[in-house]
């Protein structure tokens, strides 16, 4: 059924369709609609079994989800920016305890300075936490990826928590037509959560979260690593099943016009849509530009990505994040892979769109110009900042 909804509501609808047992969430702009919607559904009896816990902080939100998941419940939450940071230690714990919690993150910039608009620093800084990370381009993807998160996380071969990241305001607060599946369709796609690996049940007493001494800690971490590797396969399976049932195709990486591209732009999130249109414009002008949208950032899609980009002259990563003192995260993740390839393009990261700064065709044109310089043999310092009013600072 088609409805016009904002991104936050699309994610909440997905969570509703998944029939969570426990939603423990704390409001933070711009993801607040999610807990508000869940509270509304519960208050109206639309989620008769769901317990909505209005916790007193994001740290407690993830803590309560962990307790609930360990007790055998399907648990999910939503947050953004400072909230994701506040629950940072709990993210590692959720993964280490192998609890398939689902989190909806509205990608918002981090303080300081405080800023409520879109950038990716929050979830990017969480990419080491052992969570599966999805990035959605639009509201349809918000709903679909959230639904798939439950299925992938709960797969017995995976048992890792998963987050779906959607751009603040650009998607969360923009109304778009979204195809909402029926409850029956979702029930067929996503069976109820029945854990066998953990439970808190007096009939079968287990100790969860023991003191992991050096003799065994490394093996426990290795087991998570194996689970993350399994996720690579499970994600593909679930994408395929999803397409079969709902007619929408998802891939870890989505190439556009890369076959003969000299310059390939790598994108994450809503800027992918802008970039696609930009490439159409470039192609009309005879420029050989292509792009690859990343939908999955963890596990990092090395295998899928390399063949798509290795023949380009330059690969440019569009970074709505920066690791100060180094550069962009996608660049870093990619550079580590490309370095061992015999045939490899030049790689360069562009910092742009921070703190909600819109990414325009002008910005993308500037990126292309820089890439063309690189192709001509010029070398420059990286990362390259786009759209900065340098005169205000220098």
């Amino acid at each position: 059924m088609m409805r016009i909804v904002k991104g936050n509501e699309a994610a909440a609808i997905a969570a509703k369709l998944a029939k969570p047992d426990v939603v423990a969430a704390y409001p933070i702009t711009p993801s607040t609609d999610f807990p508000e919607k869940i509270a509304e559904y519960v208050a109206n009896g639309e989620l008769p079994h769901t317990q909505f816990i209005p916790v007193e902080s994001e740290h407690s939100a993830m803590s309560a989800c962990i307790g609930a998941s360990a007790a055998g419940a399907r648990a999910c939450t939503a947050t953004s920016s400072q909230g994701l940071e506040l629950m940072h230690e709990m993210l590692f714990i959720a993964s280490g305890m192998r609890l398939p919690i689902v989190l909806y993150n509205a990608n918002r910039a981090l303080s300081a300075p405080i800023n409520i608009w879109c950038d990716h620093q929050d979830s990017i800084s969480a990419r080491d936490t052992g969570w599966i990370q999805f990035y959605g381009e639009n509201n349809q993807e918000a709903l679909d990826l959230m639904l798939m998160s439950f299925r992938i996380a709960e797969d017995p071969r995976v048992l890792l928590p998963a987050m779906t990241c959607i751009d603040a305001f650009i998607c969360t607060h923009t109304f778009e037509p979204v195809d909402i599946p029926s409850q029956e369709e979702v029930d067929a796609f996503l069976p109820p959560y029945k854990p066998t690996h953990v439970k808190l049940d007096p009939d079968e007493p287990m100790t969860l979260g023991p003191f992991g001494v050096p003799e065994y800690y490394q093996e426990m971490r290795y087991a998570q690593h194996l689970a993350m590797k399994n996720a690579e396969k499970v994600i593909d399976e679930v994408f395929e099943d999803f397409e079969r049932r709902f007619g929408r195709k998802y891939s870890k990486v989505s190439p556009y016009m890369v076959e003969d591209a000299e310059i390939v732009l790598i994108t994450l999130g809503s800027v992918s849509g802008t970039t696609k249109e930009f490439i159409d414009k470039m192609r009309k002008e005879g420029k050989k530009i292509g792009m690859v949208k990343l939908t999955v950032l963890r596990p990092f899609p090395f295998r899928e990505l390399i063949p798509l980009i290795k023949n380009a002259r330059v690969v440019a990563t569009l970074e709505r994040n920066i690791s100060l003192g180094y550069g962009g995260a996608i660049y870093a993740d990619l550079a580590g892979t490309l370095i061992n390839e015999e045939k490899r393009p030049l790689l360069i990261d562009f910092i742009l769109g921070l703190g909600g700064r819109d990414i325009t065709f002008n910005d993308l044109e500037e990126i292309v110009k820089v890439c063309e310089k690189l192709i001509r043999g010029e070398r420059m310092e990286r990362p390259v900042w786009i759209g900065v009013k340098k005169e205000l600072v220098t």
Partner: protein
């Protein structure tokens, strides 16, 4: 209560004479095996679950230091949801007990505790209070009593130990207007167990503050743990009381003391108060402690007429 039935098994690595271990055994004996335990990081958690061994014979989860109350909230809610949807029988209602030390309760865990109490989760929160961050090496907490020496409130040439008052945690819990709050001492096991049972009977949150002396941190011979827990009550240093729905927000003393002993008898047995006696007797501090205890006992009505 023998070894085979004790819900906290032998073989755990707690210090000889550990007050916390005694407290947990007493609580679990009253609670029974139909209990899920949440445990904050601390002495109890670390000494009872060195992988791959566990001393727990009930379902148990440890997550982090500051969130025992939040984790317990999630478990309680999960059981509500699972019962509501028929995934488990409607009468499957295990006790949910959160165990945390004074560190994980008074300080870093206070926010989560407050949230859980305010939201009304059906959880019993037990604070085993050894009056310092013992697991990390005896650093002060807001539970460390006036005059006690810890590594971060040492008895120095200028400052003689902890100069702040102990935070009244049970009163803070009671201020949330919850159905049941009580204080207990391991030296009075019948009283402690009665309070556990009462707490588990009420629908909604309950809070139990148990004084659990620590031979290692308080510096006394391991055989004196229970003796000191008794003296704390007999000197009025630790008041045993309940706050229930019958008398909301009013502590009712459950053990009145006849011929209350002077605090000095309690202080002189513990190395953490040694600086009050040697090299020179700090009568001024001892008097201050006595004054405060007298004031508190008058306020609560501890003394038996």
């Amino acid at each position: 209560m023998s070894e085979t039935t004790s819900l906290l098994a032998s073989g755990h690595r707690a210090c000889a004479g550990c007050g916390a271990a005694i407290a947990v055994r007493q609580v679990l004996e009253a609670a029974g095996p139909n209990t899920i335990c949440v445990n904050a990081t601390g002495c109890l958690e670390v000494t009872t679950t060195p992988y791959p061994q566990t001393a727990w014979r009930v379902p148990w989860i440890h997550v982090a230091f500051e969130n025992a109350a939040a984790v317990a909230s999630g478990i309680e809610a999960a059981y509500k949801a699972l019962r509501a949807k028929g995934a488990i029988p409607k009468d499957k209602k295990p006790n949910v007990i959160a165990f945390a030390g004074d560190g994980g309760t008074f300080d870093i865990g206070l926010q989560a505790l407050s949230g859980m109490l305010e939201r009304g989760h059906n959880v019993l929160y037990v604070c085993y209070d050894n009056e310092a961050y013992m697991n990390t090496g005896i650093q002060r907490s807001s539970s460390t009593p006036f005059g006690a020496a810890t590594t971060t409130s040492p008895a120095g040439k200028v400052i003689p130990g902890e100069m702040r008052k102990k935070k009244p945690i049970a009163l803070i819990a009671a201020a949330h207007d919850i159905p049941y709050v009580a204080t207990a001492s391991i030296a009075f096991p019948a009283d402690l167990k009665r309070k556990v049972k009462k707490a588990l009977e009420v629908e909604g949150p309950s809070f139990l503050h148990i004084l659990a002396p620590c031979p290692t941190g308080w510096r006394f011979g391991t055989e004196k743990t229970v003796e000191i827990a008794r003296l704390a009550v007999e000197t009025g240093v630790f008041v045993l009381y309940e706050i229930t729905n019958e008398n909301p927000l009013r502590p009712i003393v459950t053990k009145k003391i006849k011929d209350r002993k002077p605090v000095e008898e309690y202080l002189k047995l513990q190395g953490r108060f040694r600086h009050l006696f040697k090299p020179v007797k700090r009568q001024d501090i001892i008097d201050k402690i006595q004054e405060e205890v007298d004031r508190k006992c008058k306020l609560f009505g501890v003394d038996e007429d």
